[in-house]
Symmetry: C2
Subunit: 197 residues, 2 copies
């Protein structure tokens, strides 16, 4: 298999776990997607542009962040293998976004434009089923994340998260994880200093 | 129209804004749904049960909350007219939930069970399109809410929210709104006392 086929196979496998689509149909889907191979720190979607794409991670890790008024980059989402990432609301309404999408490792990504997404859903209605299920899980997981943010004190949240999701927590830079959990990078430094002393 | 027809019409209208379904098809959908008329404070989904239902608000307002280890009820979602509410992740996996769904006003609600939801989607595949779009917006809005929580200081968030979403903010009890914005009810009291002095 070529590198491109390996990338596509990750998505096709994910589609097969959520639908009953057969191989020839799934094979036909590749023409709607673009294969990207961003290097570490490469930006896929710059902020203050129209959010015109969805991104599926075949390998590697992407994040979505915005920059607050103090210039601090705050991570709002991570996407590891088999996750979709975008500014979904801006994508849905084709609006400009203040979100940046960036690779935090060398990654392999399948990307679909808004127009191709609409075409894909018309040509292959079973993909409505796939995305309904994927969004259902993503929506539910994001509400659960809000619940997580509300459940623990600032003091606890970082270490609890690292305990509960070690594979995830050890893979991403800790200052990005801090903002993902609602902490400032400074607060994280203080926590670490406290733990050392 | 009977009261039940009025309730159904709210959902049918919402479906028509997201799909091209014609009237006879939409009319057929009613057999999948149950009409509920919870009174103020009535609980629709008690916590620590299997989350087996989705709820659509035809009129009124529901909230989803959990009780933290200090016994404080923390609101994770509100649903006004034309919003769906549930613990979507627990629903998707048919798992027990620690979420309670409660009416905070006398409300009119269409509810669908997990089994009927699956049947509806098989019998009427265009409803995959409807729910894909609705979950896309809900998912995007929840990520945007996380961004909102991360964008503002505790001091600011309550008053900014009230300024930006006055109709919503004036409709729900303020102590519920406080926890929805990541504040404790005590912190809200302090903020108000400070403002008065």
């Amino acid at each position: 298999m070529t590198q491109q086929q390996v990338m596509e196979e990750a998505l096709f496998k994910h589609i097969r776990t959520h639908t009953k689509a057969n191989d020839p149909v799934v094979e036909d889907l590749k023409r709607y997607f673009d294969c990207l191979r961003p290097s570490k720190k490469e930006i896929l979607l710059p902020s203050h542009t129209i959010c015109n794409r969805l991104y599926f991670v075949s390998s590697g890790c992407l994040r979505a962040f915005f920059t607050d008024e103090n210039g601090v980059e705050k991570t709002v989402q991570f996407a590891l293998e088999n996750w979709w990432i975008s500014d979904f609301l801006a994508f849905h309404h084709r609006r400009p976004t203040d979100t940046t999408i960036q690779a935090i490792e060398p990654s392999e990504v399948l990307s679909i434009s808004y127009d191709n997404f609409q075409r894909l859903l018309i040509d292959h209605p079973f993909m409505e089923h796939y995305f309904r299920r994927v969004w259902e899980i993503g929506y539910g997981a994001t509400v659960t994340r809000v619940k997580y943010l509300f459940s623990h004190s600032k003091e606890d949240i970082f270490y609890r998260f690292r305990e509960q999701y070690p594979e995830f927590a050890n893979r991403v830079p800790q200052y990005m994880l801090a903002t993902f959990l609602g902490l400032t990078p400074e607060y994280l430094s203080k926590l670490r200093a406290k733990k050392r002393s």
